[in-house]
C-alpha cells in the first residue's frame, strides 16, 4: 500500500445547502472537516438524509441543481475544487478522481457500446494511443474479472446483468489510473452473492493498485469488508471518524452505537434494538446536537449547545459532549429475544400442495399461430404447510420466485398446477374474483415499497377506510374510531389521519401499510420484502412492530426476504428457493447450521457482517442463470459441490435431516455435514 502521507482530498469546514421556496437557506452538509490520504480506504456511513452522497459528489466539485456552497472548501491534490475552471475539472474527473456510480445500468449511455464508453475514458484520461486502445479496454475488462471480454466489448449496457454492468463501471473508472475512487453505494440492488463478489473485487483492487477509496454506503457489512477507516454521518455532520475496528466494535458516539445495535445479526436470533423517531429535516436542527432528540443519554447541554469534533485518546474524532461516558458503556449487546412457542401442535393455516406458477401468457399473435407458452414454469413443485402463529420466511435471490408465490397465495397470479388450501379445508381459488370476501379479509398482503403501495392521492384516513368499508361495511364514526385505534397500535398519532403519503417518511408510510393490513383483522399476513426499502434503523422499528402485532393478535406471517440476518431475527422457519424450486426448509437455527443445502451454504457465506474480521466465503461463481431451466437439479450450473451427471438429469430427492428440517440434494445429508464441517475448520 502506498503510504504517501500527503493528503489527497482535504475538506475544510464545508457547508452546502439550498434555498427553499420561502428563500430560507437549508443546509444539507454542515461544517465538514475531512482529510483523506493516498491509499486510504474510507467508508462514509449514514442513513437517508445524512448528506453522504452530496459530500462524495462535492469532492468532485459537483453540486446537484439547487445546491450551493455556503462556506468552506474542498480540495483535491491541493487544488481547491470549486475554484477550478470547467476544463481543469474535466481533466480531474474520470481521471485522477473517478466515480463508480450507484446504479450502473442507468449510468451507462444506452446507445453506446461498452467498449466505446471505456475507450472514451481512456482517450480523455490516459496516454494510450489510438492503436493500443482496444487492447487496453480488454485488459481493463479482464482486470474486473469479466468473462469473454472480447464479446462484451461490443455489447450494449442493457444486454448485461446488474453485476456485469457494475464491473464495467469499475473498469471505466480504472481507465484513467485514478489516485482516488469515489464509490456511491455501488452494490445497491445487486443480489447477495453478486454483491459479495463485487466487494471482493474492490477490496483486491484497493490492495493491488493502492488507490484511495471513498466508499459511501448505508451497509456497514460492505464497509467492514472494504474499508480501513469509517466516518459516520448524521444530519449533515460528521459525528464519528475512526478506524474500522474502533467504529464497528466499540463506537463512542450514541448514534453509531444505536445504528450498530439496530442491524440484525446472522448468529443472533433476536430482534435488533429499534431507534425511535427520525433524523431532523434540513433546517430543523436547532442549536444543539442534531441527535439529542433521539439520544437516550441526552442532557440539557446536548439540546442547547452543538458539540464540536473532539479527538479521543485513541485518535478518533467524535462529535458528542458525553463521549467519555459512552466509552464506559459495554459493547452493544444482543437485542430483545423473540419468544417462540412450540408450534408443531398449532392447527394448519395454509397448505401449498405441488404448486406451479407460470408468468408467460399468450398474446394475440401466439393465439392466432397456435403457439403454446414455453414449458418451464417460473415456480414449480412447491409444497409447504404453514401453522397458525408461526413466521415462516421465504428466502432467495432475484428469480427465486419468492414474491411470485406470495402473489399467487394472494390471488393476484393464477397457479398453473397444484392447490392451495386454507385452514385445512377451504380451497383457495386461483383468482380473486372467485374467492369470498371473508377469505380475502383473512389474508392480507404488505408490499415492499411504501411509496408505491399507498395511493398518493388518498389521505391516511381514506387509505384505512378502504378495507374497513369493504370488509365490515362501517361508516363514519366507527371508521374514525377504528382507524385511530390501529394507528395507535402502530405508534402513529391520530393527527396522521389527514396526511397524504407524500408528507410521511419511509418508515411512517410502511407503518401505515402495516396498519392497513391489520385493520382487516387478518389471520395470515403476507410480507413481501417489507423492510428492504427502509433504512437500517427504521427497519428495526418495523420488525419490532411486526413482532408485537403478532404477539397481540396471534397472526401468522409469510415473510419474504433476501436478507438472511433479518430472517434470523424474525422467523421461526425458513424455506430457501432457487429459480422457483425449494431447496431447503426447516427451523431457522437448523437451516443456518450444518448440514446445509449447497445453495444455503453459498448464501450464508456471502452475507457480510458488520464486523471487521468477518470474511465471506465465495464458493459459487457470479454467473447469470440462462433459461431454459435445466432438467435435474436447478442449482447444477453453479453448485460448488456438484456430484456429477446425476445432478444434471435427476431431480434431487427430499431428505429428512430432522423432523422439521429437510434438504433437497443428491448428496446425503450426513456427507454434507462432514464436507461442510471440514471446510470450516
Amino acid at each position: 500500500m502506498n503510504l504517501d502521507n500527503k493528503p489527497l482530498i482535504e475538506i475544510c469546514d464545508l457547508s452546502i445547502g439550498f434555498s427553499n421556496l420561502e428563500k430560507l437557506v437549508l443546509p444539507i452538509l454542515r461544517n465538514i472537516d475531512l482529510t483523506i490520504k493516498a491509499g486510504e480506504t474510507v467508508g462514509l456511513v449514514g442513513e437517508s438524509g445524512s448528506g453522504k452522497s452530496t459530500l462524495a459528489l462535492a469532492m468532485m466539485g459537483y453540486l446537484g441543481n439547487p445546491l450551493k456552497v455556503l462556506s468552506g472548501s474542498t480540495s483535491f491534490r491541493h487544488q481547491s475544487t470549486f475554484d477550478l475552471s470547467m476544463r481543469e475539472l474535466e481533466q480531474i474527473r474520470g481521471g485522477q478522481l473517478a466515480l463508480i456510480p450507484q446504479n450502473a445500468g442507468q449510468a451507462l449511455t444506452p446507445t453506446q457500446r461498452i467498449g466505446r464508453q471505456i475507450s472514451e475514458a481512456l482517450k480523455l484520461h490516459s496516454k494510450v494511443n489510438d492503436a493500443d486502445r482496444p487492447a487496453r479496454v480488454i485488459d481493463l475488462l479482464t482486470q474486473v474479472r469479466l468473462p469473454d471480454p472480447e464479446i462484451l466489448v461490443n455489447r450494449y449496457p442493457h444486454e448485461l446483468s446488474g453485476g456485469q454492468q457494475q464491473r464495467v463501471a469499475i473498469a471505466m473508472a480504472l481507465a484513467g489510473e485514478p489516485n482516488a475512487l469515489l464509490l456511491d453505494e455501488p452494490t445497491t440492488g445487486l443480489d447477495v452473492t453478486t454483491q459479495a463478489h463485487v466487494l471482493e473485487l474492490l477490496r483486491d483492487l484497493a490492495h493491488e493498485t493502492g488507490t484511495a477509496m471513498v466508499y459511501v454506503s448505508h451497509d456497514l457489512g460492505a464497509i467492514a469488508r472494504v474499508c480501513d477507516r469509517v466516518v459516520v454521518m448524521y444530519a449533515g455532520e460528521i459525528v464519528l471518524d475512526g478506524s474500522v475496528r474502533q467504529v464497528l466494535l466499540k463506537p463512542v458516539h450514541p448514534y453509531a452505537r444505536s445504528l450498530l445495535a439496530s442491524i440484525p445479526k446472522l448468529r443472533e436470533a433476536s430482534l435488533p434494538a429499534a431507534l425511535d423517531g427520525r433524523p431532523p429535516a434540513p433546517g430543523d436542527v436547532g442549536n444543539g446536537c442534531a441527535f439529542a432528540a433521539r439520544c437516550a443519554m441526552a442532557e440539557d447541554r446536548c439540546t442547547n449547545e452543538r458539540p464540536i469534533l473532539q479527538i479521543t485518546k485513541s485518535g478518533e474524532r467524535v462529535r458528542c459532549h458525553l463521549y467519555e461516558k459512552v466509552e464506559q458503556l459495554a459493547a452493544p449487546g444482543p437485542g430483545t429475544a423473540v419468544e417462540r412457542s412450540p408450534l408443531s401442535q398449532a392447527p394448519e393455516v395454509l397448505a401449498l400442495d405441488n404448486v406451479a406458477i407460470s408468468y408467460t401468457s399468450r398474446g394475440l399473435f401466439d393465439q392466432i399461430l397456435g403457439r403454446q407458452p414455453s414449458d418451464t414454469p417460473t415456480v414449480d413443485d412447491v409444497s409447504l404447510v404453514i401453522r397458525k402463529g408461526e413466521t415462516i420466511a421465504l428466502v432467495g435471490e432475484s428469480g427465486s420466485g419468492k414474491s411470485t408465490i406470495l402473489k399467487a397465495i394472494a390471488g393476484l397470479i393464477p397457479t398453473r398446477n397444484g392447490k392451495i388450501t386454507y385452514n385445512g379445508n377451504e380451497l383457495l381459488k386461483a383468482s380473486i374474483d372467485q374467492r369470498d370476501k371473508n377469505q380475502l379479509r383473512r389474508i392480507q398482503l404488505i408490499f415492499q415499497n411504501p411509496d408505491d403501495s399507498l395511493n398518493p392521492r388518498q389521505t391516511v384516513a381514506q387509505i384505512l377506510a378502504q378495507p374497513l368499508r369493504l370488509y365490515f361495511g362501517l361508516s363514519n364514526q366507527e371508521l374514525h374510531d377504528r382507524s385511530v385505534d390501529i394507528l395507535e397500535r402502530v405508534r402513529l398519532g391520530s393527527h396522521y389521519l389527514e396526511r397524504l403519503p407524500s408528507q410521511l417518511s419511509g418508515g411512517e408510510k410502511q407503518r401505515v401499510a402495516v396498519a392497513r393490513a391489520f385493520i382487516a383483522e387478518p389471520e395470515l399476513v403476507l410480507c413481501d420484502e417489507v423492510t428492504s426499502a427502509l433504512d437500517v434503523s427504521v427497519q428495526a422499528a418495523v420488525l419490532e412492530l411486526l413482532n408485537r402485532l403478532q404477539r397481540e393478535f396471534g397472526t401468522t406471517y409469510i415473510f419474504v426476504s433476501h436478507d438472511l440476518a433479518v430472517v434470523r431475527a424474525l422467523a421461526d422457519r425458513v424455506a430457501l428457493l432457487y429459480q422457483g424450486r425449494l431447496c431447503e426448509i426447516g427451523p431457522v437455527a437448523d437451516v443456518y447450521s450444518l448440514p446445509s443445502h449447497p445453495y444455503t451454504e453459498v448464501l450464508l457465506g456471502a452475507v457480510l457482517e458488520p464486523h471487521p474480521d468477518s470474511v465471506p466465503v465465495l464458493s459459487a461463481d457470479d454467473i447469470v442463470e440462462l433459461s431454459p431451466m435445466p432438467i435435474g437439479c436447478p442449482f447444477q450450473r453453479r453448485c460448488p459441490r456438484r456430484l456429477g451427471e446425476i445432478c444434471d438429469t435427476q431431480i434431487p430427492p427430499w431428505q429428512q435431516v430432522s423432523s422439521e428440517h429437510l434438504i433437497r440434494c443428491h448428496i446425503s445429508h450426513s456427507d454434507l455435514q462432514k464436507i461442510q464441517a471440514e471446510q470450516l475448520s
Partner: protein, 297 residues
C-alpha cells in the same frame, strides 16, 4: 412514543387542493395571462348580446367596407354590417359548440381508454387496431363526410366533433391508465378484493384525472381550431351567424384594401386559443405532468 412532527398539517380536502392548483396556475406568468384571456372570452360569450351597439344582421349599402370610425369602432364588412358587434358575438357559436363537445369527447374517450387500459389482453390489442385505423384518416375527411351528408347545424356539429375528437383521448387515457395500473397500490386494492368499479373510482381516477384535465384543455383548443377551420371552409357556422372563421373567410377577398375585416376576428380567435394553450401549459406544470406535444390531429 409517537414520532415528532416536523411537517405542518396541511388540509388535503379536494376543495383545498383545487384552490392550491388554481393559485399555482395564476402565480405563473403564462398561467395568469392564459387564464385571464379565457375568462375574458367566457364572460364575453355571456354578456355580448347585451352590450353590442348594433344588430349584427343589419346590412347597409352605404357602409360597405368602410374603415373604422367613431360609430363603428372596427369598421364595416362587405355587407355594411358593424364588425365590432359581429366580432364580439363571433365566438359564441364556436365556444358553445366546442364547450359542449369537449367534455363529451373527453368523457367518452376516457371511459373507453380507461376500460381498455384495465382490461388489457386480446380485447385491448384488437380495439387499439381499430382506434389506429380511425386515426389514420385525415380529420377533415372524417368530419366533412358526416357534415356534408347530415348538414351543418349544431345538432350535427356537436356529435361529430365529440366523436372524432374523443378518439385520441382513448389513447391518452389508456396510456395514463397503464402507468397507474402497474403500481403496487392497484395490486394492493385488487388483492383486498375491491371490485373493478371501486378500483376505478377510488384508486385509478384520482391519479389519472390530472392528465385528463390537461388533455381536456388541449382538446378544447384543438376543437376550436377545427371548428373555425370548418367555418372558414364553409362547413361550420352558417351565415348570417357571426363567427370568426366565417368572417375571416368572407373578408379575405377584400384584404388588400380593407384589412380590418380580417384583423379583428384574427385577434379575437387567436387570443382565445393562445389563452387556452397557455393555461393548459401552466396547469400541466402546476400539476407536475410532463407533456409531449403530438402532431396536430
Amino acid at each position: 412514543m409517537t414520532a415528532k412532527l416536523s411537517v405542518p398539517i396541511i388540509k388535503n380536502r379536494t376543495q383545498d387542493r383545487l384552490f392550491r392548483v388554481l393559485s399555482d396556475v395564476m402565480a405563473r406568468p403564462s398561467g395568469a395571462i392564459g387564464l385571464s384571456l379565457v375568462v375574458f372570452h367566457l364572460v364575453l360569450v355571456v354578456i355580448s348580446p347585451f352590450i353590442v351597439p348594433f344588430d349584427y344582421r343589419e346590412i347597409s349599402a352605404l357602409l360597405m367596407l368602410k374603415g373604422p370610425s367613431f360609430e363603428h369602432w372596427f369598421g364595416n364588412d362587405h355587407l355594411g354590417r358593424d364588425i365590432f358587434s359581429r366580432t364580439l358575438l363571433g365566438g359564441r357559436e364556436a365556444i358553445l359548440v366546442t364547450g359542449i363537445a369537449t367534455p363529451i369527447a373527453v368523457l367518452w374517450g376516457s371511459f373507453i381508454g380507461i376500460f381498455f387500459g384495465l382490461v388489457g389482453g386480446r380485447i385491448d390489442e384488437f380495439s387499439m387496431r381499430i382506434v389506429d385505423a380511425f386515426l389514420s384518416l385525415p380529420w377533415i375527411l372524417k368530419m366533412l363526410v358526416l357534415i356534408v351528408t347530415f348538414g351543418t347545424g349544431i345538432g350535427v356539429l356537436i356529435p361529430t366533433l365529440a366523436f372524432f375528437y374523443g378518439i385520441p383521448v382513448i389513447r391518452i387515457a389508456r396510456a395514463a391508465t397503464h402507468d397507474v395500473v402497474a403500481r403496487d397500490f392497484i395490486s394492493a386494492a385488487k388483492a383486498r378484493g375491491h371490485g373493478r368499479i371501486s378500483i376505478i373510482r377510488h384508486e385509478l381516477l384520482p391519479n389519472v384525472l390530472d392528465t385528463l384535465m390537461v388533455e381536456g384543455a388541449m382538446r378544447w383548443s384543438w376543437m376550436l381550431l377545427a371548428f373555425s377551420s370548418l367555418s372558414f371552409l364553409g362547413f361550420g357556422a352558417s351565415p348570417p351567424t357571426p363567427d370568426w372563421g366565417l368572417m375571416i373567410a368572407d373578408a379575405r377577398g377584400f384584404m388588400s384594401f380593407a384589412p380590418w375585416g380580417v384583423l379583428a376576428p384574427v385577434v379575437f380567435l387567436s387570443s382565445l386559443i393562445i389563452g387556452i394553450n397557455l393555461t393548459a401549459d401552466a396547469l400541466a406544470k402546476a400539476l407536475g405532468i410532463d407533456r409531449i406535444q403530438k402532431a396536430p390531429v
